[in-house]
Amino acid sequence: MAEANLVHSAEAGTRVEYELQLYYWMKLIRGFEERVSRLHRQNKILGGVYSGAGQEGLVAGICAPLQQGDVVLPLHRDLGVFLMRGVDPGVLMAQLMGKDGGLSRGKDSFLHGGDLSRGVFGSTSMLGSSLPVAAGAALKFQIKKEKNIAVAFFGEGAASRGDVHEAMNFAGVRKLPVVFVCENNRYAYSTPLEKQMAIDDVADRAAAYGFKGYVCSGNDLLAVLDVAEPVLARTREGGGPALIECKTYRYHGHSEHDPALYRSKEELLKWESRDPIQRFEFYLEKRGEDVKRLREQTDEKVKAILQRAVEFAENSPWPEVNSVFDQLYASPSPAMLDGRRS
């Protein structure tokens, strides 16, 4: 399961199989998110936890068309990206617990680790700063004439950072193979859209950089696919950068510490009624699937995977203390090692 990422099996299969797989991924991501929240309440995960529950549709839809060798830069709510790129759920869980088995090997618990073997770049906390990095990855593909693309996620809040502007402008000038994906969930922490920007659609900003912007419902997997598949393909074929904005909503507060009193129950309700997984189940039902059975089977599978993931993470040791020096540089010089005092 975890070893092969979606793409490989999808390429081999039919459209029906592909859709069923995406259903599975959304369920796994949701299950994973919920488990993380629970582990946080149990004090088994410390530090900041930013749930992406509610946003699985856009993650699945954007990641589905990715290919081997592509680079993706997820942000703080995008743990689903790690899963879909094939990072082992146990490794991801170990990351969140700060264990040696995690991507950061205990250096960080947030999603700042990455797995270069799967094209997942870790970011920093500084929102928006991964977009220039994405442009640089795309520049490499362009220089080396490789048919890969870079995909950078960012929130509508991060869109206000200067780095986002610099990256998009450069991507436009050089027609880089990079797709910028805005997860517009209407809030940056407590700050609503209208305090963040004086326009309706972040996608409109693409025009300022000479490429195209697209808007879709991020809670409707099929709508995301409708945009992502042709747009990513076009960028891959040398069509230059693109900006995809996915309208969505986060069910939880900004972090698990945040009761989100700044938004109304009605608003949350409205968005819960647009749940990406339930919507997709409705579609599958229409298409003739036995959704009840599918859901039960999937839940069971997810449960087992999560069970193993938590076990793996809990059994993973704490990192060795010296790793805080050994993993700083490629080859620590003697002078460097001398700094090991505290």
Partner: protein, 326 residues
């Protein structure tokens, strides 16, 4: 009245906003939410949305706009949601704000305060635990303060707001709710540029600030009780300008000095202080100028790693003992 470190900051903001209508607060989530740590709670209700301003996620803009308003006589208090994000506003601070008066031949002011929760100890990992102060203590034109107690937190913030130059105010987030103190109600200030002896002693000086002051006092008491050595703890409070007189006076009195900070060893302000002492109190030194600080690495997350790299009371006790027996 017993108040927390956090409440002291909130009180200072509220009182200064009441005292001078040119004072206003700006930053991410400072209004409705009252800040990620509730430091600005209640200000929106008290002073309205023209003086308590939520901004987009634009640190450079936040500082730059503060500068522009300050040049016209406002007294902005801008917040970095975590001090770590000050890296995104770096140019505005070190070039625009710090050189402003200088560039204008002394005929322009930038009475702005930049606040930010700094420091480790709340599982914040690499990007929510930093101590960025020493990036700024090398920049003339700026002032930098870092209070360790509710009294100093309130008094220094008031001084910072009333100061006609840009002041960086680093509050230690681990202290927000963990430290309480009886402080006078209402108005008082703590002067910028003045260190304070927080614990008097004769045999050895600890020079420290912010998150390691209380640890140092605790360590001093432990060693005093166990070994009968008398230890002085000097709280710098202001990091730029340094209170050289107080530093040199303490070292000349005791002859031994241990510098402690939570910021990293290499490039932390301890180096500057150590060099100052080695130059200007050379003849008084009875032992090497010793430093204890965070190890030269990033704020690793895993509890055993964090424990290993950060200073704490036990490590300070050990360092005192080693130096005392020199």
């Amino acid at each position: 009245m017993e108040v927390t470190y956090l409440k002291a900051i909130n009180d200072a903001l509220r009182e200064e906003m009441g005292r001078d209508e040119n004072v206003f607060v700006m930053g991410e989530d400072v209004a409705e939410l009252g800040g990620a740590f509730k430091v600005t709670e209640g200000l929106l209700e008290a002073f309205g949305s023209d003086r308590v301003i939520d901004t987009p996620i634009s640190e450079s803009l936040i500082v730059g706009a503060g500068i522009g308003a300050a040049m016209l006589g406002m007294r902005p208090v801008v917040e970095m949601q975590f001090a770590d994000f000050i890296s995104c506003a770096f140019d505005q601070i070190v070039n625009m704000a710090a050189t402003l008066r200088f560039r204008h031949g002394g005929r322009a002011s930038c009475p702005m305060v930049i606040r930010g929760p700094s420091g480790a100890g709340i599982h914040g990992a690499i990007f929510h635990s930093q101590n960025p102060e020493a990036w700024f203590t090398r920049v003339p034109g700026l002032k930098v303060v870092a209070p360790s107690t509710p009294y100093d937190a309130k008094g220094l913030l008031k001084s910072a707001i009333r100061d006609d130059d840009p002041v960086l105010y680093f509050e230690h987030k681990r202290l927000y709710r963990s430290v309480k103190e009886d402080i006078p109600e209402g108005d008082f200030t703590v002067p910028i540029g003045a260190a304070e002896v927080k614990h008097e002693g004769r045999d050895l000086s600890i020079i420290t600030y912010g998150g390691t002051v209380q640890q140092s006092i605790d360590a001093a008491r432990i060693v005093e009780k166990a070994d009968g050595v008398s230890i002085e703890v000097l709280d710098l409070r202001t990091l730029l300008p340094l209170d050289r007189e107080a530093i040199l006076a303490s070292v000349k009195k005791t002859g031994k000095v241990l510098i402690v900070h939570e910021d990293r060893l290499t490039g932390g302000i301890g180096g500057e202080i150590g060099a100052l002492i080695a130059e200007h109190a050379f003849e008084y030194l009875d032992g090497p100028v010793t430093r204890l600080a965070m190890a030269d690495t990033h704020n690793a997350f895993s509890p055993p790693l964090e424990e290993a790299i950060l200073p704490n009371t036990n490590k300070i006790v050990e360092a005192i003992k080693r130096l005392a027996s020199y």
